[in-house]
Symmetry: C2
Subunit: 439 residues, 2 copies
């Protein structure tokens, strides 16, 4: 197998047994990128020579001094500071800007031995739905989703085993589903967001992409994600109880998601799980509105500097935040802030009755066209509620495009959620009907 096809866990095993060098691995990934870049365009910044130089340095580290991510290549969304590469946010205001500092996540990854490959495309400031040049890993006529467009597409296209994204609405989970990969939005503020551009302090969360749950578990180790309860090595689907939640935005679900939800529930039942369809209490109906109000209110604060210094170069959607075009009052904002806060322990209570909640990741497969990155309708409530969410790929929609489903657990049950995701993912990947053809 060509090295670029490896998951992080598989590559690590080869580095360990000496059958692969980081340099050869990096060259394989770079060749893949070179071959596919015209079709996918996932990168905002990539310097192949620098990548090789870093890879060679990693190869020189003796086995006993290597970190848990030694040589693992990571694609970094271009809203996260990297001291040796520009950080440009897909904003003309920051074109060529290169603050010489690493984000907290990057410091931790580098210390663990990761090879930072380059910066991946994002919608402007990870804050709009307007697509850029990046294409879906499985169909160049379709959006990769956003705002973590490049990281989702790069991991989906085997150009990197691991990608960093962010999520404020649905910016990690949506590209995960659209590109047919695992995506993980951990509990809010369980990984430091230092050095990651602020849109909404209350919602922004670092997101992780991989092509296996083992890889996400490896990252969870590196970022010290810990639940209260020790998590079993291997989660048993048989006898487990899942909730099936269509949510109030179910009318937006297209045939791909409707079919995936049906098949997902059936597969879990076939494997001995109990699947109970639930509805959230009516007080949750306000959550999407709360999210909208808070996003605009927090964006009003976050984009003031750019508004003041370069309003003409700031997307009108974000100018509208600062101008408060919806005339959101402080009273409205506080009602949403406190209302969302009051819902969080309630969703924990509901979710804790189940192994996980199975719910849509997206309305359907990635839409045709690059102008819009799609809808976050099925994601924003979970972001607002701070719960961990994974996207589990495996289902097939229109035109053989991938479609995933979300699993949700109570806050700070991140490791539990990953254990469940691993078991569920095995089933969905094997029996869901979709396999990547770009390899």
């Amino acid at each position: 197998m060509e090295p670029y096809k490896l998951t992080a866990t598989e590559a690590l095993a080869k580095f360990k047994d000496g059958s692969l060098t980081v340099e050869d691995y990096a060259r394989s990934l770079l060749a893949r990128i070179e071959k596919r870049d015209a079709a996918v365009k996932a990168w905002a910044y990539l310097d192949p020579d620098y990548v090789i130089k870093q890879a060679k340095k990693l190869d020189q580290i003796p086995q006993e001094k290597r970190g848990p991510l030694h040589g693992v290549a990571v694609a970094v969304k271009d809203v996260i500071y990297t001291k040796d590469m520009p950080t440009q946010y897909n904003s003309p205001i920051y074109e060529g800007d290169a603050p010489q500092v690493d984000a907290a996540s990057i410091i931790t990854l580098r210390h663990a031995g990761a090879l930072i490959l380059g910066k991946t495309t994002t919608t402007e400031f990870a804050s709009t739905l307007y697509g850029g040049r990046t294409c879906n890993a499985h169909d160049s006529t379709r959006t990769p989703g956003g705002s973590s467009s490049g990281s989702g597409a790069a991991v989906g296209d085997f150009q990197a085993p691991i990608g960093l994204g962010t999520q404020t609405g649905g910016s990690t989970i949506r590209p995960g589903s659209f590109n047919g990969i695992y995506a993980f939005k951990p509990t809010w503020n369980s990984i430091s967001r230092e050095g990651q551009k602020i849109y909404s302090l209350l919602f922004d969360t670092l997101g992780l992409y991989a092509r296996s749950v083992e890889d996400l578990q490896l990252l969870a180790d590196v970022f010290s994600l810990e639940d209260d309860e020790p998590v079993e090595e291997s989660f048993e689907i048989k006898g487990a109880k899942f909730a099936l939640l269509k949510t109030t935005v179910w009318p937006q679900a297209g045939p791909g998601t409707i079919a995936a939800m049906e098949l997902g529930a059936k597969l879990l039942r076939d494997h001995g799980a109990e699947v109970e369809e639930i509805e959230l209490p009516s007080e949750f109906n306000e959550a999407p509105h709360f999210h909208h109000i808070l996003l605009h209110s927090e964006g009003r604060v976050s984009f003031l500097p750019e508004y003041r210094t370069a309003k003409d170069k700031l997307n009108p959607f974000l100018v509208g935040h600062v101008d408060n075009i919806h005339k959101i009052s402080r009273a409205d904002q506080l009602k949403a802030f406190d209302g969302m806060a009051a819902l969080r322990p309630k969703i924990d209570g509901i979710a804790s009755k189940y192994a996980a909640i199975l719910t849509p990741s997206v309305p359907d497969v990635a839409p045709v066209g690059l102008a819009s990155t799609g809808s976050a309708a099925f994601n924003s409530v979970w972001t607002g509620l701070h719960t961990p969410v994974t996207n589990i790929p495996g289902f097939k929609g229109e035109a053989d495009m991938p479609i995933g489903l979300s699993l949700v657990a109570p806050r700070y049950h991140d490791r539990h959620l990953l254990a469940v995701s691993k078991a569920v993912g095995k089933i969905f990947e094997t029996e869901g009907g979709w396999k990547p053809k770009n390899i």
Copy 2:
């Protein structure tokens, strides 16, 4: 009057009428700093030549193109990024570090015409109570408080009219009281914290220092702080109703604070206000504990990168956060998170019945010795509740040292709080008994 003595508002008037240049103003401040630095040691970084160069540039801007803070000198706490100066956090890990980026607050201030003077001392990462070399503006044997030690001391010592601080516990209000100046911690996330080192996402707030409330109002304009209700130009003390709140930590109050609270209430009554002593409902008794739990839990995330890369250079207090030495469970953390969230609308409800809540800023005057920056006991609950708070100077404690009192308003009543603070400040400054002698 020598220019260094001017408030920002006074200096602006002179720049406008042409009676003072920014360069002459800067030279006056630099001379003051040179004269007093051995006694106060407020600066972590200051390059006088660079300051003069910037001042000259500002002088060249034609009147009609000048910003609302044209030429106003600002002392910046060294946990806030400045693209042209180092940012070192008083941490050996970041010694000499200089990311080339401005924090959101600095972008906004520079765009308004501010002259960034230099970086001021902080306790390590604004996260410990261990004092550094900086001394109180009014007595070199005493602490200036912390963690915004240098900004508090610099403004108190007429070395800068405006200072930026931060507050996670009592890091803005405490140095305000200890150095005899106005301090303002606005509503949480009402000013962008982008580029300000993270300790606790949930509590960290940019803080502002000045020697007049007019100056704070000027800054509030620049940062677009807006209440729902338009705020009257001049707040009338006569007929207003204040709450007097001793809090559950009142037993920690020393003679200075006890006397200030008595005199403060008397002065307000003398001027025709109604002052009603209140106690918070018993559910607020848990708030200090919630703050403690959350501070440690969020610090566990924030300092993971430094813990991983340079544990031996990280203060043991912060190592303890990452090691979770108090064995705080996720369940405890969520109980505190949700508990604090539930109290926020309740304190708004209580505070909205009054012009403001009058409550201690500190246990007493600045203690002798530099080893500890003092107690945040009277501040951390307000930080946790996200309410705006001001420190109003004017009272005199032991050894003629200054002591202030806090005013608190509901969230997003920042402009109201400043209007009230202006009226109250006029009384406390005139009749409270303390006047600065360092001028």
